[in-house]
């Protein structure tokens, strides 16, 4: 008896957990499923919220403060609401910026039109801004790579831009690039600005924190409807949605980086007489460079991840072509386009890193030629390739000048190869895969889904809040309870349960795969570097591309969605496992070896426990990624929140529904995030890290 008591007091949390499970299951059995039973499903108390949001927005956009405006096109006065005029003015500014870059790369008349008129351009055919020949852009990329980092980066930039042009994707790629070249710097500047603001002012930081949390867990689709309503359809709306999506990680990493700067640095700077501005831009930000650069990396990755989704609201470029290719089931073409997106991401990332890390040599004594050798060389190249492009006009007969612009889809293509590969997989493994699919659906997924749906709402609350209590005390219990109650009071609780079921399955499998693969790869230097590279690639590779082959193999089923989820959500689990294990100090390895542990023991008893908090952050990210992908899985066909978010794109009350559903997804993510983070913090304290 006393042994038992000892055991209970030693394993207090475990006992609490067992008691919690007992209560949970007895609630599940006791409460009868009927819609009138308040313990089974809460009444949808805030079902009116979407409508309210909607009415507010439409009042703001279509009725608030109407002003009379003379419309020159129809020669009449019109009443237009103020806010709409303001957002449209912002839209046209953004659009103008995108177009300037786009026309430098691809040629056009719109920039000239902005300063004159369409009439002027139509009457004067010479008023056309010529495109830079692709050869110039290629060599500029190579030169930039070389001047920033040397031969390696030059090769990468060169190969990437050649790939894009030779495969005939130059035009859409440059359209996407022009959008990213506006969105990424804007996100960077905004992120840095808000980050610095939050660092300097506590109340700004505490006001930003919940916003950032929600923004980072809201699914991509939820950003589209508001962007469309406020800013219209087109590249500008795509760019604005991208900026909103890509800024939060930048803000967060800026704050993180600045906070890490040790006070000695600040003091030294103040002693040398820095003013506020110098302190921030000459001392603090350069010192916090490492985290800020991770922020830049995140911004670029997010921008290109959003490039595809932004094409739903009118962004031109690779994303739109990708959707078209997928619609024709042309997986090969889609893969080529996907590779273009990855290449743009990788090159931009490496170039910006190299630029930020370049040291200025203040003591070099160079003459004009030496200082400007790259610019001069570039000027020479521009001249040279322009002449070649001009000669090209006489060489090619079909009206395409391959020295000037390789027209869209006129390059070489490996489509048949990829298509053949996909067809081969489908043909060869069809029946095995089908059997697997049926087994998975009938014996795992359907029962799991059924189990989730047959949980009474009160039991779910007891379970989740109970876990919150065990991990982080009353405070945690109330925080997760708040997140859940919001969802429970909407009319989408059942949908949220289906989302939760798919995300749970995805997270469990992804975490298992990720931690295993990560642990194996972390054993040597080379494998850990290459696995991180693979993670980077898969993170930018547009997730839509998996959808088609997966549907071919597994049909419009939950299996398809979950496979897409697992491919995507395994990335953070792997990455953080590798990073966590690699960060275990060598001295501890040595200490372990000296005490005579073997490899397996060292992994189990030393490395894993020490890396555990970091790995839990990985699992945390896995949850967010899995939720995102479950929502994107609506493109395959699901019955969860995602399908409703997709529907809100075309709904009458779209903006309200889209946002409320987005909050629901975000709150699921945040509840899990809170639990895991609290647990990881506890472990960290226990380990003395």
């Amino acid at each position: 008896m006393s042994e038992m008591r000892n055991y209970i007091s030693n394993n207090k949390k475990l006992t609490q957990f067992v008691v919690l499970l007992v209560i949970f299951f007895s609630l599940c059995f006791l409460i009868s499923p009927s819609d009138s039973n308040i313990l089974w499903r809460f009444p949808p108390l805030i079902a009116g919220l979407p409508l309210l949001i909607n009415d507010c927005v439409s009042y703001l956009m279509y009725e608030f403060m109407p002003i009379e405006i003379y419309d020159s096109e129809i020669e009449e006065y019109e009443e237009r609401p103020l806010i709409k005029e303001v957002t449209r003015a912002l839209s046209s500014t953004v659009l103008f910026c995108i177009q300037v870059i786009r026309e430098i790369l691809l040629g056009g008349v719109k920039t000239i039109v902005t300063f004159t008129s369409w009439d002027f351009v139509n009457e004067n055919k010479w008023a056309y801004w010529p495109a830079l020949p692709w050869t110039v852009v290629c060599s500029a990329a190579i030169l930039l790579g070389y001047s920033l980092r040397g031969f390696g980066l030059a090769t990468l930039a060169g190969l990437a831009s050649m790939y894009i042009s030779i495969f005939g994707q130059w035009e859409p790629a440059m359209e996407t690039l022009s959008l990213v070249l506006i969105a990424a710097p804007a996100s960077f500047v905004l992120g840095l600005f808000f980050g610095v603001l939050a660092y300097r002012n506590k109340s700004v930081e505490s006001a930003l924190a919940p916003l950032l949390n929600i923004a980072q867990t809201m699914p991509h689709f939820s950003y589209l409807v508001p962007a469309m309503v406020f800013f219209g359809v087109g590249d500008h709306a795509g760019a604005i949605a991208t900026i909103i999506f890509a800024t939060p990680p930048m803000i967060r990493l800026t704050i993180l980086g600045l906070k890490k700067v040790s006070p000695e640095v600040t003091e030294a700077a103040l002693m040398s007489g820095c003013n506020e501005f110098q302190l921030m831009f000459r001392v603090l930000i350069p010192t916090a460079r490492r985290d800020i650069l991770i922020g830049v990396n995140q911004v670029i990755m997010q921008c290109l991840a959003m490039a595809v989704i932004a094409s739903f609201i009118g962004a031109k470029g690779l994303g739109f072509n990708l959707l078209l290719a997928l619609n024709g089931l042309r997986v090969g073409q889609a893969i080529e386009l996907g590779i273009c997106i990855v290449l743009i991401a990788v090159v931009l990332d490496k170039l910006s890193l190299a630029w930020a890390n370049k040291q200025v040599d203040y003591f070099a004594d160079l003459n004009f030629m030496q200082r400007n050798k790259y610019k001069i060389f570039l000027f020479f190249l521009l001249f040279f390739w322009s002449i070649i492009a001009y000669i090209g006009t006489f060489l090619f007969e079909e009206g395409f000048n391959y020295f000037y612009l390789i027209p869209h889809n006129k390059g070489i293509t490996t489509e048949t190869f990829w298509q053949g590969g996909v067809d081969w997989i489908v043909d060869t493994f069809f029946f095995q895969l089908k059997a697997f699919n049926e087994f998975l659906i009938i014996s795992v997924l359907l029962p799991m889904k059924h189990a989730y749906l047959s949980m009474p709402v009160i039991a779910t609350f007891v379970l989740i809040m109970g876990i919150g209590y065990i991990i982080g005390g009353l405070k945690s219990a109330f925080i997760v309870g708040f997140f859940l109650i919001f969802i429970a009071f909407t009319e989408w609780w059942d949908r949220a349960l289906i989302t939760a079921y798919m995300a749970t399955f995805g997270v469990i499998v992804s975490a298992l795969i990720g931690i295993t693969v990560g642990s194996i790869c972390a054993q040597t230097n080379i494998t850990s570097k290459s696995i991180i590279l693979i993670c980077d690639t898969f993170q930018t590779f547009p997730s839509f591309i998996y959808l088609i082959p997966v549907i071919m193999l597994f049909g419009v089923t939950d299996t398809s969605v979950l496979i897409a989820v697992i491919v995507y959500a395994t990335i953070p689990a792997t990455r953080y496992t590798v990073e966590g294990l690699r960060s275990v100090p060598d001295t501890l390895h040595d200490a372990g070896s000296m005490s005579g542990v073997n490899r397996l023991q060292r992994w189990l008893k030393i490395e894993l426990p020490l890396a555990f908090p970091h790995m839990m952050l990985g699992v945390n990210q896995t949850v967010v990624f899995a939720l995102f992908m479950v929502i994107i899985g609506a493109m395959i066909g699901t019955e969860d929140l995602g399908q409703y978010i997709l529907k809100s794109l075309s709904d009458k009350h779209g903006i309200g529904n889209g946002l409320t559903l987005g909050f629901c997804v975000a709150f699921i993510g945040l509840a899990v995030d809170h639990l895991i983070r609290t647990w990881a913090e506890e472990r960290k304290k226990a380990l003395g890290l």
């Binding site: 405006i69 031109k316 089931l329 549907i551 395959i636 399908q643 075309s650 779209g654």
Partner: protein, 313 residues
């Protein structure tokens, strides 16, 4: 304050107002939306090509199929050249009720948007009696899938297309033996058709005509005929199929004033099912890019489209 803003904006407006006093088309570009299926994209470039031949400037913008009506209303997009009655009719009329969008006439093509089976399902006689709907009563097993729980499965398009129309109809006519599953996108439908063909199993999916699937043959289920008010949302019992529908064109309300000539042409443009099929075929079967397909179509069919450009046709 409001007056100042008004005065300011008016003066800016006046300064920027070029003289559009004649009935000549404005030189501002006509914005044509492109959606995610081939015939629509090719037709966008075809219509763009016709406008360009008249000296107009055009611009293409990718847009969501449902959201585009709101965009036309707001003036972000000028026209829409494929408004399908049963799928987009509701969004179109809702936008029209709010004002800002006008009906610019109807294509000659009749459309049908309905669930059905690929022709080879009929040829193999997997479910005797098809395409009559009553045949479905006896062959739910042919169309069952792993996740349908032994019931026959009908694969509908995304829920945003027709809401609960098909679940209502299936429940009313076929009862509990059938389920309706929503696919997330048109791609999912085509992938399902391709997979079913490879496997040789029966499948019922949502589809429409004219479409590229017409080339391989597609048999639409013949439900009890449609009559106005038969759907549940209109107060009926949902025991009816889809109507043979129209294919309309829509335009922003300013277009007749800003681009009178182009608007006249646009309102006269009328393609039939064969012509729309040709456009889709150039891309989906012959593998041309959308722009090239449009160029080829325009070059081959001058006698079809030239008359549209003459006023008072």
């Amino acid at each position: 304050m409001r007056k100042i803003i008004t005065a300011f904006l008016v003066s800016v407006g006046l300064l920027m107002a070029p003289a559009f006093l004649s009935a000549k088309d404005s030189s501002k570009p006509i914005v044509i939306p492109t959606h995610n299926w081939s015939s629509q994209v090719v037709m966008a470039y075809v219509i763009g090509g016709i406008f360009e031949s008249m000296g107009n400037t055009v611009e293409y913008v990718p847009a969501d199929t449902q959201a585009v009506y709101e965009a036309i209303r707001n003036g972000d997009v000028t026209i829409s050249h494929e408004v399908w009655q049963s799928t987009f009719g509701k969004s179109f009329y809702e936008a029209m009720a709010k004002g800002g969008i006008i009906d610019a006439g109807t294509h000659a093509a009749m459309t049908l948007e309905e669930v059905g089976v690929p022709q080879w399902v009929i040829d193999k006689n997997l479910c005797p009696g098809l395409p009559n709907w009553e045949a479905l009563k006896d062959c739910k097993d042919v169309f069952a899938t792993a996740d349908s729980g032994g019931k026959g499965r009908i694969l509908e398009g995304p829920q945003s297309w027709h809401g609960v129309e098909y679940p209502d109809r299936v429940e009313a006519l076929l009862g509990d033996d059938w389920v309706v599953k929503f696919a997330g996108s048109a791609d999912a439908l085509w992938a399902e058709l391709a997979a079913a063909k490879k496997e040789g199993r029966g499948t019922i999916t949502f589809n429409w005509t004219p479409n590229f699937t017409d080339a391989d043959g597609f048999a639409f289920i013949e439900w009890p005929p449609y009559y106005p008010g038969c759907r549940k949302q209109d107060g009926g019992d949902s025991k009816c199929g889809s109507p043979k529908g129209w294919l309309k064109k829509a335009a922003n309300y300013k277009m007749p004033k800003t681009h009178p000539a182009a608007y006249t042409t646009f309102s006269q443009i009328s393609f039939n099912a064969g012509q729309i099929g040709q456009m889709a075929k150039l891309v989906d079967i012959e593998g041309l890019s959308h722009q090239d397909a449009a160029k080829k179509w325009l070059a081959d069919n001058e006698d079809v489209w030239k008359p549209f450009t003459k006023p008072g046709m």
